[in-house]
Amino acid sequence: MTSEGPPLEALARRLAESPADFLTSSIHVTALAADLLRDLGQQTPPDDLWAMLAPTKGRGAAARSAANRLQLISLAVWLLSDPWFARNATSASSVWLLLAIGLDPLAEIIDATSAISDADRREELVRFILWSLELRPAGETHAQAQDRLTNLDSVERVRVVRETRAAEERARQIREAMAAKAAEEAAASYGRE
């Protein structure tokens, strides 16, 4: 069930006005994300913050795709720094799940710079982030929001939406299972490590 979020236009405008610094390679995405999460009430950064958002030392295509993902995450942080989110008690853990893994499928198909310069991509990113946090743009019904999210471009978007949900759900399941099992006895191992 979705709740009503902020107006789409306001967020799209915020995205269009993203500080240029947010797309540079020197930006510290980890620091930005930690600040955002603190603003949303999570005082201690998540344990996996650095591992999930660290700049990669890879080369070539690997480095480019990893950098694009981090740029997209930076833009999401900028967007979610809109005061509306802190004012409306947006869940820090949901935001962290989105930043840590939820944007991965989208990062495979959209270029971060186009998410600022291209109006359709801007709207897409805004809708995607709202949807991921179970919000809908102000003034839209749930059905309208869902319809517009997946119809912005192509069948590919439907796949992205599905994969994102699955990836977030999977991450949640693994973390829960590991937390439960960490306290449980394991299986015998036959030497010390």
């Binding site: 344990d47 996996d48 591992a51 999930m52 890879g58 690997a62 893994i101 394991a186 299986a187 010390r192």
Partner: protein, 473 residues
């Protein structure tokens, strides 16, 4: 998922009447230690089938290896799967065909986000979690599977066979893992893979036993095929007047120095095998009878690709020292793709299989308390493991004073002082220092200026001590 404590049926799905009798015998032996834990192999019929299939595959591919500068086709295939199906590697990007450009991952990455290393297609039904202090002392929670734990045994059996030693299992105790530390889990168990043979983990520390003479009687009665342990626990084992002679001693966890290895071999009249193993993927390499000094450890697993990388992530050619980096393994719940181990060595390709030369990573260290007790590095790691430290270092000077250093030390001072006082005593001379782990590259976490022989002389609670060069009792 088990919401309730495990039952014996959960621990030992393949328990037979005979192995159940053995289990009870080990627990209820009149000289048994105060076991403080229960643990089984958790191997189901399907799991056992997988372990046997792995063994067959291992035997079939025992001679499969690679040459310097090569990347075997199976490792490229493994990379392709990991890049597509494991969140962490998918995010970092890369192409299997361009293997050398795939970004390396680290123990720090795994420590911080273990969930992201679990492949999308792995079932979570049989997930178990091991925790390890690692070289940084910071706990790493490693997701794994009972099948992966038992797959250690066929590899170990292969290593033992190289030394002319069998691991027969069946109606006996096959393995005793000896520890010598303040606190550790201890239990008796049986292994379905070893046809119900016994496996015991115990602590040689006197407080783990009801009577002082129980330890020797119990070990002599158990008469294990092999002992596993670490150099420090074997040092303690060697002090006991044991009459039983094992087939082999298998040392892991810390560097086994050549002098001690030779002395232990003389003392127990059996091969002493040095194994390089990590919680993340278990057995990696082992000493062979032919391995000469300085110690070289031969890679043993057919499903593990090992590279040596420099600090920038470039693969180094044979003979050059760098960080041991792993791809592959057999843990279905943990993908290892160019995974930096934090340990350093060079690779030598002159023999039938690649050999790690000059392995350096976890030198064993013992510290002395003001009242003459010995505290080993495992105890320190355990005592400080819950603290949120990325890395720390402990040094003891000749005069017994201790310096504990870590990043942001002022912030941690009070939290560090408590467990240190519990370990070393309230009046231990302890100072805190700020420490920049980036300043000097690889961190040797534990160091002491007190020579081992001297340490032993100053220690009050043990009668005999031996280390490097001195004779074992």
């Amino acid at each position: 998922m088990h919401e309730q404590p495990l039952t014996d049926q959960d621990r030992f799905p393949l328990l037979t009447p005979a192995s159940q009798r053995r289990l009870h015998g080990m627990w209820e032996h009149p000289h048994a230690p105060r076991f403080n834990h229960r643990c089984g192999d958790r191997l189901t019929a399907d799991g056992l089938k997988k372990v046997r299939a792995f063994e067959a595959e291992h035997l079939k591919h025992a001679n499969q290896t690679w040459r310097d500068a090569d990347t075997p086709a199976w490792a490229i295939e493994y990379a392709r799967h990991a890049l597509a199906n494991t969140p962490f590697y998918r995010q970092r990007g890369g192409r299997a065909e361009d293997f050398l450009a795939i970004p390396a991952s680290t123990r720090g990455d795994l420590a911080r986000a273990p969930w992201a290393f679990v492949p999308d297609d792995a079932s979570l039904d049989d997930l178990i979690v091991y925790d390890t202090s690692g070289t940084t002392g910071h706990p790493i929670f490693v997701p794994t599977h009972p099948v992966a734990s038992s797959m250690y045994l066929p590899l170990l059996r292969g290593v033992l066979a190289r030394h002319g030693v069998g691991l027969d299992g069946g109606d006996r105790v096959s393995i005793v893992l000896v520890c010598a530390q303040n606190l550790t889990y201890t239990f008796a168990s049986v292994s379905a893979y070893l046809e119900g043979a016994g496996y015991i983990k115990l602590n040689l520390s006197p407080h783990a036993w009801r009577n002082p003479e129980d330890c020797v009687r119990y070990l002599n009665d158990c008469a294990p095929e092999i002992y596993t342990g670490d150099p420090l626990s074997f040092l303690e084992l060697a002090k006991l007047p044991l009459t039983h002679r094992p087939q082999a001693l298998v040392s892991t966890s810390m560097a086994l120095l050549p002098g001690l290895r030779a002395e232990l071999s003389r003392r127990f009249e059996c091969p002493v095998i040095d194994i390089y193993s990590m919680t993340e993927c278990r057995l990696i390499a082992a000493s062979t009878p032919a391995t000469s000094e300085p110690a070289g450890l031969e890679l043993v697993a057919h499903d593990l690709f090992v590279e040596i990388l420099d600090a920038e992530g470039n693969r180094l050619p044979a003979g050059q020292r760098g960080e041991i980096t792993l791809t592959g393994g057999r843990n279905p719940l943990l993908s290892l793709l160019r995974y930096r181990t934090g340990d350093f060595a060079a690779l030598d390709f002159s023999g039938p299989r690649p050999v790690l030369v000059g392995l350096e990573g976890r030198p064993p260290t013992r510290f002395l308390t003001p009242d003459g007790r010995i505290v080993n590095n495992i105890d320190v790691s355990l005592a400080l493991r819950e603290l949120p430290l990325a890395q720390f270092r402990l040094h003891q000077s000749q005069d017994g004073s201790l310096i504990l250093s870590c990043r942001d030390v002022e912030h941690h001072r009070d939290a560090l002082a408590r467990p240190m006082a519990q370990l070393f005593g309230e009046h231990a001379p302890l100072e805190f220092e700020e420490f920049d782990p980036d300043a000097d590259g690889k961190v040797i976490q534990y160091t002491s200026d007190i020579l081992d022989a001297e340490l032993e002389g100053r220690e009050r609670s043990y009668q005999h001590v031996v280390w490097r060069g001195a004779k074992l009792p």
